[in-house]
């Protein structure tokens, strides 16, 4: 017993984490041994559940901060955002890896996940999605690589990476644009299933713009959390300008949603007393409230108010994706669906893994530092990025 006493007492969040991991591992066992039927409430009429709707669609959207900030810093050359670029790229890379993990649960035969790369069907949106995930994850790995190389002082490799950085960033932005919009295109094929408040030929464009909002909100969200967890100073002026940009993007997005409903003549649907109407109004409210708040000086100059707005936007985004993937297609499919506990356990497991790996990476890799590396001898050898001022550009 004395041995146990010497162990550190686990914190509340560590307890929650271990419970989630235990449940997730057991759910994984159920999924492997009893198939999709044993682990989910999916059916022939409702073949896509929250593993697609939340783990994959929301996961990809919340990773959008990576390409938004990479473009801002490296393409638009707005240097002052550089301190938050690395956490955003880490989030994106991690997000994509977890999306691929979720896909392994959802595919009937996960070991054939590489098939779209060799068995082509360019008419399939899923084919485009498969290629985008593969290529963009590779790009993210390369964008992330300098952080690891720096950690282990691999100078030569870092120099190679610097040359290829700009083409890589541009490729990443294009792939992300295609990927975010193609997730919306997936649903273009089901006009008879998806409720008309959400079904529109604009789905790909709306998915892209809402992903930009989610990416910005996610960046504010993680800046706030990181500054608290690691005692780093929060760059208020940075997240404040991101907050204002978010307000503009949200108003563009909401205007598009409104005009789309208007032109399709779908506004009268709002008068119907149906669950879809209420869920739609909830989603729109979650988008609208932070938009109005973020236009106010009091809000965008306060860190905690910005954080609150970012959280609301994240919830709005998740509500939108779940409405399109789950609640908006239930009536059209003629069945009702509520996820089985194993589906929820796997989802929580993946989210918890994300938080844990993020924390681990921030602790062991130079994510928040923007330092020029020195060998033990003390000679400066390389700057961490092409524009850092310690080493003149070649």
């Amino acid at each position: 017993m004395t041995r146990f006493k010497s162990w550190p007492r686990p914190t509340f969040w560590q307890c929650i984490f271990f419970v989630i991991v235990a449940a997730g591992l057991y759910a994984t066992y159920v999924r492997v041994m009893y198939g999709l039927g044993g682990a989910t409430h999916l059916s022939d009429q409702f073949p896509w559940g929250i593993w697609i709707g939340f783990d994959i669609l929301c996961g990809v959207g919340l990773a959008a901060g990576g390409f938004t900030l990479a473009a801002t810093v490296h393409v638009f050359n707005i240097e002052r955002y550089k301190p938050i670029l690395r956490p955003a790229i880490l989030t994106a890379f991690l997000g994509y890896l977890l999306v691929i993990l979720a896909l392994m649960y959802d595919l009937g035969r996960p070991y054939r996940v590489w098939h779209p790369l060799v068995m082509w069907n360019p008419h399939s949106v899923m084919f485009e999605v498969g290629w985008c995930v593969t290529l963009y994850t590779t790009v993210l790995a390369l964008e992330f690589a300098p952080i690891v190389l720096e950690r282990f002082h691999l100078v030569r490799a870092l120099q190679v990476m610097r040359i290829s950085l700009i083409p890589l960033v541009i490729l990443g932005v294009i792939l992300s644009t295609l990927h975010q919009s193609s997730l919306g295109s997936l649903y273009l094929i089901v006009p008879e299933k998806l409720y008309p408040l959400w079904y529109t030929s604009l789905l790909p464009v709306l998915f892209f713009v809402s992903a930009l909002c989610a990416g910005l909100a996610m960046t504010i969200f993680e800046s706030w959390h990181s500054s608290r967890a690691f005692g780093k100073q929060l760059e208020l002026s940075l997240i404040s300008s991101m907050g204002r940009l978010l307000a503009v993007l949200l108003s563009v997005y909401l205007t598009m949603r409104f005009l789309d409903l208007l032109h399709r003549g779908a506004l009268p649907l709002l008068l119907r007393r149906r669950p879809e109407t209420y869920l739609f109004l909830l989603e729109i409210a979650l988008f609208t409230v932070p938009m109005f708040l973020l236009f106010r000086r009091k809000v965008y100059s306060s860190a905690s108010a910005l954080y609150g707005c970012a959280v609301m936007v994240l919830f709005a985004f998740i509500a939108n994706r779940l409405n399109i993937t789950v609640t908006g297609v239930e009536a059209g499919s003629g069945v009702s669906y509520f996820p089985k506990w194993t589906e929820i356990a796997v989802t929580l497991f993946i989210v918890a893994l994300g938080f844990a790996i993020f924390r681990f990476a921030v602790e062991y890799l130079p994510i928040f530092e923007e330092v020029s590396l020195t060998r033990p001898g003390g000679r400066a050898i390389v700057s961490t990025s092409p524009a850092a001022s310690t080493v003149p550009a070649d």
Binding site: V32, M33, Y34, G35, L36, G37, G38, L42, S43, D44, Q45, P47, W48, A71, H74, V75, F76, N77, D106, L107, G108, R109, P110, R112, V113, H115, P116, M119, W120, N121, P122, H123, S124, V125, M126, F127, E128, V129, G130, I166, I170, V173, I174, T177, L178, S181, S182, S185, L186, L188, I189, V190, P191, E192, K193, S201, P204, S333, G334
Partner: protein, 242 residues
């Protein structure tokens, strides 16, 4: 003409080597072990099977090309390609493809219009076994002509709409009924344009997005960094002068 004897279900199960018994016969829906199903609606019967569309949604959405439309009608499925994304099931406007949910290595199951029999010049198992001629096999054009003639000569017995001539661009299976099909568990009001066009309109924009985005982003990068270079050069000049 259907009397609900379910011999088509039995013939189908035999041909596709699936189990068939009274319990399965009483399940009135398509499933991985029941590729066609008779559904009862009061005193009327309707038959569910794959419509084998002329421009099939499932063929267009399958990322690995496991589903193919053959020239003589059937939409076939190659299980060795399938990775189990189930987009075909989600996208099918008739909710036809089904999955082996309780298998560890599942495959999609659907009626393939007895592709092997049709290729050998035979009719489908269900058409061959049907005792009343309610299911009839033949060339699509001949069947449409016959359907039109039957509907026209017997307006009291038939609903005027021949389901499958126009739905989602036309299907290889046509449905004639004595009542509107939506009363018999079949989805009505589908668009007459083929569904694959809906996604193709978005997919065909990809080359444009890639070109425009790369030129635009490359240009922005050049501009934003050029400004810096010019500023640096000017500063240098000023320093040299002073």
């Amino acid at each position: 003409m259907c009397i609900g004897c379910r011999l088509c279900e039995k013939g189908c199960a035999e041909h596709h080597k699936l189990p068939y018994n009274d319990a399965i016969a009483s399940e009135e829906k398509l499933s991985a072990h029941k590729l066609t199903a008779i559904t009862t609606h009061g005193d009327k019967f309707m038959r569910r099977l794959c419509m084998n569309c002329l421009e099939p949604t499932c063929v267009s959405v399958c990322p690995v090309g496991a589903l193919q439309k053959s020239a003589n009608g059937p939409v076939t499925y190659d299980a060795s390609r399938c990775m189990g994304c189930r987009y075909c099931m989600f996208a099918c406007p008739f909710q036809v493809p089904t999955y082996q949910w309780n298998s560890r290595l599942p495959v999609v199951k659907k009626c393939d219009m007895c592709a092997d029999r049709v290729a050998a010049g035979l009719q489908t198992a269900c058409a061959e076994i049907c005792p009343t001629g309610a299911t009839k096999f033949g060339e699509r054009d001949d069947l449409i002509a016959e359907a039109r003639q039957r509907v026209a000569s017997n307006p009291s017995q038939y609903n005027q709409h021949i389901y499958g001539i126009q739905e989602v661009g036309g299907t290889s299976v046509l449905l004639l009924a004595s009542a509107p099909v939506e009363q018999l568990g079949v989805r009505a009001g589908l668009p007459i344009t083929p569904m694959p066009l809906l996604t193709w309109r978005a997919l065909s924009e990809i080359p444009n997005i890639v070109t425009v985005c790369s030129v635009l982003l490359g240009g922005v990068w050049w501009l934003s960094h050029r400004r810096e270079e010019v500023q640096a050069a000017e500063r240098k000049e000023r320093e040299e002068k002073s």
